[in-house]
Point group: C2
Chain length 342, copies 2
């Protein structure tokens, strides 16, 4: 069905049909000039926003629209968890070009709705417009944290331990794999991409999750990180952000960076440096955080968390300690779409 | 200067340099994964968002970037006022194509910052990205209202008075004028557009204001509207939204619709029906609201507010009462970018 048959308001009605709010803080959701939220005293409100543009942040050649919707929501939830908060509401703005049918937008929105169901988040508003410019997705997420529990990137202190959840570099390798299969398929309508043995990489790229479980495990263990970020631009880039904001240096051990087996195989296949991929590959959406040295035993017991280094005085700079004991200064070579334009 | 010289983080630092937060509810602004807000008990939080796309919502041939920035913020503030709230924070996401230099984005952001200064709003976050697709602006605004004072579109009741602020149709006529001068200038590098005697129309299109003053005047007069919206898609469209949400009908008097002299002159010049322009022209950002009949004297005393009709039972439908006493059903012919695509 052509979107023009429905018009803006018809499309919004269709997409938001049957939405149910699950959070007490959502007083009024979609359907008015604004959503109305009410947070009890003692809560801090967290706000984050992400803009995703076709052919900059995603390539519809190999990204299914439902996955794209899911991921668009997840990247925002991840920013809320990265502050030690819980996501509660999102607004969804879509710019839709004429080549999309209503069914395409249904699929995209289904993915967003599914992510919201999984993470307990309400869709409370948005904007929908025609676009001459491909698909545009802008999501703003609102979350909460108990007063005084939100964790910024500026609280890391000398001797703190640096921890990371999950493993790194897989989403980047998934992207390389998808790009390779795309190139191989060019001009071959019957081409079937081969992802055998590399399913994890594809999933990490196309359907990432936000580490709700880690934030909950930290709370349960009684650990409040001193600084935290999610790994969206690459470990190096995020470490440098924390060090800059916290006015510290850091040391990270090459042999402690968690890397999945499939990531290693793929790096080998592509003749790429594995550590470079793990340091600079983005979109892992793992949590990078620092904790006081005294919390060592507590964080060590949390499944899926690894201590990879420590915070230093600023004059020591930020460096990777290689397997042979050498030091290489960390550089932010992360994924930077404004520079990538060149 | 090329934006790629600065990169994403350099550009963000430049744009947000020297930002000062003026609202107590802003605990932490730009610079982390999320902004942190803290609203006291008894406040409701309002959230609205708008997506503006080049060549759909604005034409840079005649829209100066600073004005565009100002207007992008204003349209969001207007949605907060339309709920009887006060805007407090915004996030600003920009997608920037390669043809823009840093100085262009400075101008755009200057306009946004200026609007925030005028209306007392803090810029607390955002996202900045390359775009292959022209300029993309997505702004989310967060505001507040005392608990129980937010006004939706669903509270209008039979016999309520329908009121509107300012005058209608001028922004639409400004757009027609700008489009006419653009067409006339085609291929003529030395062309100087002639806006003499029509400055008000151009200003209404390029530099609209949000009606903070009306919301404050209503509070001062002790009037709480039963329903309220801002006129962004056209009076007809907004009236039908209120009637649908409130399950009512309405009658609006043609001869009471406030229209500026310049709007009338321009309609004459363009051989357009003036009332159609006032009913269906969008982007006026005036406030349309309903009040109980008993508030007649109070609203009549507020400068810049005009009573234009009344709310009826739903079975009477929604109609315009013409100068000769006839009735014409209201239709939503407002500006609808998803339909306009055809």
């Amino acid at each position: 069905m052509e979107i023009s048959e429905l018009g803006e308001f018809g499309l919004i009605d269709r997409l938001t049909d049957g939405l149910k709010n699950v959070n007490d803080s959502t007083v009024k959701g979609v359907g008015d000039d604004c959503a109305i939220l009410r947070y009890p005293a003692g809560k801090e409100i967290l706000v984050t926003t992400d803009l995703l543009l076709e052919n900059v942040h995603f390539d519809l050649t190999y990204v299914p629209l439902k996955h794209l919707g899911y991921k668009s929501a997840i990247v925002n939830f991840s920013d809320i968890y990265a502050m030690n908060g819980r996501p509660r509401q999102i607004t969804v703005s879509l710019g839709i070009s004429r080549r999309f049918a209503v069914e395409h937008i249904d699929a995209l929105y289904d993915g967003i709705r599914h992510a919201c169901e999984v993470y307990g988040v309400d869709i409370v508003g948005g904007d929908t417009s025609a676009s001459h410019q491909g698909l545009v997705i802008s999501i703003t997420c609102i979350g909460e944290a108990e007063e005084g529990t939100a964790v910024g990137r500026d609280g890391a202190r000398d001797t703190d331990l640096i921890c990371v959840s999950g493993d790194l570099g897989a989403a980047y390798m998934g992207l390389q794999l998808l790009e390779r299969e795309k190139a191989a398929s060019a001009g071959q309508p019957d081409f079937v991409p081969d992802f055998a043995g590399k399913e994890y990489l594809v999933e990490r790229q196309l359907k990432p999750e936000a580490r709700k479980d880690i934030v909950e495990a930290l709370a349960k263990a009684g650990v409040k990180p001193t600084a935290m970020m999610d790994v969206s631009d690459g470990l190096s880039s995020e470490l440098l952000h924390i060090c800059k904001a916290s006015k510290t240096g850091c040391r990270v051990y090459e042999d402690r960076i968690p890397i999945d087996y499939q990531t290693a195989v793929m790096a080998e296949e592509l003749n790429m440096n594995l550590v470079t991929a793990a340091l600079n590959g983005g979109e892992d959406y793992e949590l990078l955080f620092t904790v006081p040295l005294t919390d060592h035993d507590k964080v060590s017991k949390i499944e899926g968390v690894k201590v990879i280094g420590y915070v230093t005085k600023p004059e020591l700079g930020s460096a990777l300690i290689t397997r042979d004991g050498g030091e290489i200064p960390l550089r932010a070579q992360g994924w930077n779409p404004l520079k990538a334009e060149e």
